[in-house]
């Protein structure tokens, strides 16, 4: 039990900032990201599959993506408009520009939630966290070429979803 405690506290110490950043980018609400980070680590603590994971960071990383999209789904039902808690753009100087840009970013994140779980995770890792295909492949236990192919298909799918939505 003590080993397990150390493992999860170490994960928080070492990877906490990265997971926090990931959650912030995906939910775009700095005011609630702290609650989600707590929820993530409590879930990991209570998870039996976490113990079996070979790479605890990779497991936590995917759990964070899941949690963020779960939160986004819940928010959809209450239709919370995007807050200005996260600066979104360098060139969106006007209020209107910022609103439009915020809406665009929300749409692309919402569209991502419609992908398969694997495609969604790969897109988040590649384009939001800007990981290399090699890193993604290692994290997911797949081959880099396959990740590249999943990403290409996901982009095409996103284009279709967004075109139909907008």
């Amino acid at each position: 039990m003590i080993e397990r405690q150390k493992k999860i506290l170490q994960l928080l110490n070492v990877s906490g900032p990265r997971l926090h950043r990931l959650l912030t980018r995906l939910i775009r609400r700095e005011d609630v990201v702290g609650d989600l980070l707590q929820e993530l680590f409590i879930r990991l603590w209570n998870s039996k599959t976490f113990d079996k994971a070979e790479n605890s960071f990779a497991y936590a990383y995917r759990a964070a993506i899941n949690l963020a999209y779960e939160w986004r789904r819940q928010q959809k039902t209450t239709s919370q408009p995007l807050q200005e808690n996260c600066p979104v753009s360098k060139d969106s100087s006007s209020a209107l520009g910022r609103m439009i840009q915020a809406e665009e970013l929300e749409r692309v994140l919402d569209a991502t939630s419609k992908l398969s779980e694997l495609a969604r995770d790969v897109v988040v890792m590649r384009y939001i966290e800007q990981d290399s295909y090699e890193e993604i492949a290692e994290r997911l236990g797949k081959k880099p070429q396959y990740m590249r192919s999943v990403c290409a298909k996901a982009l095409a799918q996103l284009r279709e979803i967004l075109t139909n939505d907008e």
Partner: protein
């Protein structure tokens, strides 16, 4: 229907990927996560809550705990001070406070004028507690009436000794070896964030108070204005040795004085033992006592003012389920028993937005035995 090409999608992702949360927010959220995780791990948050119940039953512990809590602020600074690297006259005075690892002091709390609504002091005007500490995780309190509190986070335990009853309450409040970020028992160490804040903002927040005499010793003083809501502090140090001899913190009408400070003295390890002494026994089920604090009230429709029957009112407390709670009757009334402690209470009913109200203030409800909380729920 506008065509969105892949370049546009990548551009949007790139905008998202540029966002970096502020350092302050990250540190704050990591600390909170760490604390809640540790509480969960130690089986869990309920244990801290139970310990607080015991502390709150003892007036002097209650006052002392409040005094430390006042100081135990969470300040997030970009700079972590290395005590040996800070320089300047004020820095010379506070350096020992940043560097001290073991020592002792007296903590005197004057609460003669009470106006803080979150704390109910009762009628004790001045209390002095002897405090001994070794490292951030081990603290020993002695009260004038003989009660003892030992917090030993290296073992993850807190022990309270009540000599009149010969009772010892020992609680595992955290995993061994994990020192909580927030210092709950050591006022001197809890002041460190404020001192670091003062060093960071010395030009605006520190004022030289000149010289005076304290118990025949010439001392020099500095006045530190803390960040909003964190109180102001005067530090008096021996003018020759520059060692602090007295620290006064005022917040609202409360004053806490730290005096007779000894730095890095040798201490008896037994002071931090959480093994009950011979002759002491555990109180009968004290920590698992049944709830006896009454929460009651009425739940109504916010629009019509009509009572809502069947609304569920529960407290989320700090513990694990099942939570205490009740269902409203045909007049919208509810009543249930819970523990006298800080918690939020949630009212919910089908077709209405849930509403939460809090019994706020960890120390506030102890001397009451009933709280009326009414809810007016907005239709969905």
């Amino acid at each position: 229907m506008p065509e969105i090409d892949e370049r546009e999608i990548k551009r949007r992702f790139e905008v998202i990927s540029q966002y970096e949360p502020s350092h302050e927010v990250v540190v704050r959220d990591l600390e909170r996560t760490r604390e809640s995780l540790i509480q969960q791990m130690s089986g869990q948050r309920l244990r801290w809550q139970k310990m607080w119940r015991i502390i709150m039953k003892n007036r002097i512990f209650k006052v002392a705990a409040a005094a430390v809590v006042i100081a135990a602020v969470v300040l997030v600074l970009d700079i972590v001070y290395e005590p040996d690297l800070v320089s300047g006259a004020f820095a010379d005075v506070v350096r020992p406070l940043l560097a001290v690892e073991a020592g002792s002091f007296k903590m005197t709390i004057d609460v003669s004028i009470v106006d803080l609504d979150w704390i109910n002091y009762g009628d004790e005007p001045v209390q002095t507690i002897d405090v001994v500490f070794a490292g951030p995780g081990r603290t020993h309190w002695d009260t004038p009436t003989g009660e003892v509190l030992v917090a030993n986070m290296q073992e993850g335990k807190v022990m309270i000794l009540l000599p009149t009853k010969k009772e010892a309450v020992v609680m595992q409040v955290g995993p061994p070896g994990v020192i909580p970020v927030h210092n709950r028992f050591n006022k001197l160490l809890a002041l460190r964030p404020l001192i670091e804040y003062a060093l960071e903002t010395e030009n605006e927040s520190v004022e030289f108070l000149g010289e005076r005499e304290i118990e025949g010793v010439t001392v020099i003083g500095y006045y530190m204005t803390g960040p909003e809501h964190h109180g102001d502090i005067a530090i008096w140090a021996d003018s020759e040795t520059k060692l602090p001899v007295r620290i006064e913190q005022s917040m609202g009408t409360q004053t806490v004085v730290i005096s007779e400070i000894s730095f890095n003295v040798e201490l008896d390890e037994l002071l931090f033992s959480v093994q009950p002494p011979d002759g002491y026994s555990a109180p009968a089920s004290e920590e698992d006592k049944e709830p006896e604090f009454v929460v009651n009230g009425t739940v109504t429709d916010a629009v019509t003012g009509q009572p809502i029957e069947g609304a569920k009112v529960t407290d989320d407390g700090y513990g694990s389920e099942p939570y205490q709670g009740a269902v409203t009757d045909s007049e919208g009334k509810y009543s249930y028993l819970t523990w006298p402690e800080k918690h939020r209470i949630k009212a919910e009913a089908p077709g209405y937005k849930p509403q939460r109200k809090g019994i706020t203030g960890l120390f506030h409800v102890e001397n009451e035995d009933e709280k009326v909380i009414d809810f007016a729920l907005e239709p969905e």
